[in-house]
């Protein structure tokens, strides 16, 4: 057996803007999908409607971000090609959003942590030096402000409701806390985008996020988990290192489209 001669191929120039758009689009696609799993099964009819509303907004945002990602990539892939024909390792969403729904308290805690992140991030992105990203962010920001109002109110109701609801939502917060540092890690992509003014300096946003989270968590009579509950080794969704949950979710999301390649729907 002869070892193949390895010709060093130069890495393609990193398309940072594409990466950013995939991160934004995939977060929303995955979380929108998760929320849509509640449809018909929520604790009250009003929440069937409210969770569906948030899911619809997120999937609408995902459509726009992924469509733009396809344009920036320039390989003729549209939003559906990106949503339905990529493998789990090619997804760029954070680990937080792919976690299974759990009970209503878990879904709300996951949503709240994400919604605050969405508001601070989209607010900064609405001042991006990239006009397209600024426009998409500004549009999404309006919706995100409604979302955080909804999830924030439920954090208060569950945290300061009954002993059981308090215990459940506290446990959810403790469980999810380890996924939050990833939201603000400045890897190479994020650092370069920040220098160009296309995206904000993520570590700087972390403090802003934590101030809002701390305020609501406090008013909800909940306890902010300690930093020791962070898991530094989990910072991988942005580079494709997902939890095992994503593959199962995508298997369901993609099954019909992949069973009929080339078909129109």
């Amino acid at each position: 057996m002869t070892s193949p001669s390895v010709v060093p191929v130069p890495a393609p120039p990193p398309n940072d803007e594409l990466e950013l758009l995939l991160r934004l689009g995939d977060d929303r696609l995955v979380l929108g999908h998760r929320l849509s799993e509640w449809c018909g099964h929520a604790p009250i009819l009003e929440e069937d409607i409210a969770l569906a509303n948030v899911a619809l907004d997120l999937l609408g945002q995902a459509t726009l971000f992924l469509r733009r990602a396809g344009e920036v990539e320039g390989k003729g892939r549209d939003e559906d090609a990106l949503a339905y024909f990529r493998e789990a390792v090619e997804f760029r969403n954070c680990l937080l959003v792919e976690q299974p729904n759990g009970d209503f308290g878990f879904t709300i805690a996951r949503q709240f942590l994400f919604d605050v992140h969405a508001v601070v991030t989209l607010d900064a992105l609405s001042r991006s030096t990239s006009a397209e990203i600024a426009a998409l962010a500004a549009k999404s920001l309006k919706e995100a402000k409604y979302h955080v109002r909804h999830s924030g109110e439920w954090m208060l109701m569950l945290g300061d409701g009954t002993d059981e609801s308090h215990r459940r939502v506290q446990r959810a917060l403790d469980e999810l806390w380890r996924f939050t540092p990833e939201l603000f890690v400045a890897d190479g992509v994020a650092a370069r985008l920040a220098v160009q003014g296309i995206a904000p300096d993520l570590p700087a946003l972390h403090a802003k996020w934590e101030t809002i989270v701390r305020d609501v968590v406090g008013r909800a009579t909940l306890t902010l988990p300690h930093e020791s509950m962070h898991s530094p080794h989990l910072r991988g969704g942005r580079s494709g290192m997902h939890s095992e949950h994503l593959g199962h979710m995508l298997a369901e999301l993609q099954i019909v489209a992949r069973s009929h390649p080339g078909a129109k729907w």
Binding site: E37, G40, E79, L253, V256
Partner: protein, 323 residues
């Protein structure tokens, strides 16, 4: 509210005046006097309608996570969300008759209230999302267009609003059907199969034949219903046959033929044994549907309790601040 229930015998003079109002085409409003049976019939019909919207979320919800494109996924979520909205709206309308939503929901969960038999059939392929919009929403429109002229004001107004959205759902469903019917051979087979499975259950949606419909005569006299089950079923068949032909799909009825004398499409006999079995709880998915509703209700109990406890704390806080 409970006054009417303790007076099962209605004053004949009042009943006569009430029927005169109906005959004159007046709309009955919540505070108007009405015979107890009228109230009960309306509660029965309206709550069945609301329950149908809620249970109806399940068969379509079954395909939300597998919808084959983002656009289809978004429209399907929006459609199921509309159904939740319709359910909520009709429950509120039913509350104007002096019964509360929690009581009605409990009847659904107990299995004592009925809902449309169609939702006890399984959704087995993506094509079912097209056919449900086309047939099931199409049948609902035929029913509801007539109910929009019902004598009870809140129900009639709810139907007008709901019908607009159902029309949109039907168009959306038929568009899915048309795309599949013009698609790959596998897609064509998928849509024909869905049509075959949903056609007869859709005809059953209009309820028993007039000969076996115990409530119809009185409901028509009181203008709660304006057309009989068989009349509405025939109208649906007449509307749907040309739509099937337009997309080259076959309806699974060898007896289907146009009758020039009556200007109706004649259709073959409906399997009423199947209908009765489904109504009695022995349809393919009756148990699963009710189980899903009960699970959502039971698992959501702690959330509803938390919301009430929180609201009570807030009220107490405001009261002590005001004091």
């Amino acid at each position: 509210m409970s006054q009417a229930r303790t007076q099962p015998q209605d004053d004949p003079a009042k009943v006569a005046a009430f029927e005169a109002r109906i005959a004159a085409g007046e709309s009955i409003e919540p505070k108007d006097w009405m015979p107890e049976r009228y109230r009960r019939q309306l509660i029965r019909m309206m709550s069945q309608h609301a329950h149908s919207e809620i249970v109806g979320m399940l068969p379509e919800g079954n395909w939300i996570t597998r919808a084959p494109s983002l656009r289809r996924k978004i429209s399907l979520i929006a459609k199921v969300q509309d159904e939740a909205g319709h359910g909520l709206y009709i429950y509120c309308g039913t509350e104007t008759l002096g019964v509360d939503r929690a009581e009605l929901v409990q009847q659904l969960l107990d299995g004592t209230a009925k809902y449309s038999s169609i939702f006890n059939y399984p959704t087995l392929s993506w094509a079912d999302m097209g056919v449900i919009g086309w047939f099931v929403d199409g049948a609902a429109i035929v029913n509801q267009t007539v109910l929009a002229k019902a004598s009870y004001g809140p129900y009639a107004r709810a139907m007008i609003r709901i019908c607009k959205e159902e029309n949109f759902h039907k168009r959306q469903g038929y568009e899915i059907v048309a795309v599949l019917a013009n698609g790959t051979p596998a897609q064509k087979a998928m849509i024909q199969d869905a049509v075959n499975r949903w056609w007869w259950p859709s005809l059953m949606m209009f309820g028993p034949s007039d000969a076996d419909s115990p409530n119809t005569a009185e409901l028509i006299r009181w203008k709660v219903k304006r057309r009989t089950n068989d009349e509405l079923r025939q109208r649906f068949v007449n509307l749907t046959v040309p739509q099937a032909a337009a997309v080259n799909l076959t309806l699974p009825d060898p007896e289907l033929r146009y009758d020039a004398d009556t200007e109706n499409w004649h259709f073959g006999p409906i399997d009423w044994d199947e209908f009765n079995q489904v109504i009695r709880g022995n349809g393919p998915c009756n148990r699963e549907r009710l189980e899903a509703r009960r699970r959502a209700h039971d698992e959501g109990a702690w959330v509803r309790e938390a919301a009430s406890a929180y609201a009570a704390k807030q009220r107490a806080k405001q009261a002590s601040e005001a004091a």
